[in-house]
Symmetry: C2
Subunit: 295 residues, 2 copies
Amino acid sequence: MDLKAYLQIQREKVEKALTLILPELEGPSADVVKAMRYSLFAGGKRLRPILCIAGAEALGADGSHVMPVACALEMIHTYSLIHDDLPEMDNDDMRRGKPTNHKVFGEAVAVLAGDGLLTEAFRVMAQTPLGMIKPGALLEVISLVAQAAGYQGMVGGQVADIQSEGKTVEPAAVEFIHSHKTGALIAASVTSGAILGGATEAQARAINEYGRGIGLAFQISDDILDVEGNSEQIGKGVGGDARKKKVTYPSVHGLVRSKEIQKQSIDRAIHSLKAFDHKADPLRAIAAYIIERKK
Amino acid sequence: MDLKAYLQIQREKVEKALTLILPELEGPSADVVKAMRYSLFAGGKRLRPILCIAGAEALGADGSHVMPVACALEMIHTYSLIHDDLPEMDNDDMRRGKPTNHKVFGEAVAVLAGDGLLTEAFRVMAQTPLGMIKPGALLEVISLVAQAAGYQGMVGGQVADIQSEGKTVEPAAVEFIHSHKTGALIAASVTSGAILGGATEAQARAINEYGRGIGLAFQISDDILDVEGNSEQIGKGVGGDARKKKVTYPSVHGLVRSKEIQKQSIDRAIHSLKAFDHKADPLRAIAAYIIERKK
């Protein structure tokens, strides 16, 4: 399959849906919506929404039916970037080649823009037109996404990340950080699509396994790009992890071993799709692409 | 009815349910959960959960069935206090007689504790045991609460609040701030209970009208207490609004007119319950209590 074309088509659909979900606003809330839109439309890869759509398609469902949930996942991802970049967190000035949210709108509005995106994501999910989707499946997805984004997932990973800076940690600690900070939401993205697409419990488990595998591999890529990457392609400076004494796979395992772990993780992810037919090919292609990505 | 006893009993039930929903944790996420619990168990009045329960009871439903949603509302309220107190926002050091979250845990963890509470609130709502509750009603409630908490509600009100500090504003601006920052979530609290309790559309509208009325009156009380109150009873310093040049009802309308507007707002709230029988008496009593409250 032509993954590049697939990603391009899906990305355009997601962009269009996001524009409709969060239009510009007038009145006293105009500024916070401007700040929300600034980061939401800053040129993200839309990996999480595309995984949600591909997860639904793997089950034979129409990807457009899960678009609200797909968009909500991108809103949650964007909120986490805005808050992570704050001075009290990672204190980053640039993101995707543009000044970070708080650099443009100030810290107060940046905190609120993140809060607004996170909250709106749940409104958007809850208002997903049901059609073929069972209300119980939608409630299950909302719960799954919240768990992946909250203290049992992304928030927990970010706390562990901040608290481990500058420390020597065990390999288990870097695995905790990555699986929680990045892996949990990526796994929830593809699993949400599958659940809404009508997955059985066993199917949802297999897809979730796939998601955990590519989630870990994706974060290892990020770590490796920060060492080996080209800052123009990535849209932010490289070497930031070392400067901030971040706990990363290369810092704990070295580059060679990190790439081995990444490869194993991708192999396991692809293997967990063994019971799925060609409709899961986009998921297989995405897994392979994660190792090769340059940004 | 004995409102004091009613509030006491409901508050105890809410405390107990919250303890079960967010127990202490070990491991790498222990600290953020500690910070979440610090503010969640800091002695709040539990007004929003009690309104949710009383809203369900007004429809003849068992209040215990809506407890997860009631608890989620308190978690959302608590997250908003943690973020509002941050240095880049209202920069408050004390809340309910205790140091604010960021004073104890640092700004990074305070931001994440707020994020964690907000996210967890949606997980808790989505996992409400259905029993008598229709899944469609629960989805409607999740959407209603998200809308009230997000940029169309609380977040929008907070942005307008921050941006109006030190400015001379029209009466419409202070009404916008109060109805969004406080009123929206209070109205959503009681309306959620009613919807889960099986309200018709007209009943939900009437309860929502009640909620908007007491929500505005409640925030005017806050404004008045900051001028006339006793700082020991309130648990934080008084006069802070004037010092920060906050837009309040007393600053825009004066104290006498503010109390008149508050009284009218409560009268309208009680009037909107006219089609409800004695099962709505707790709601009526809460409305009357809002004017008299001293903390």
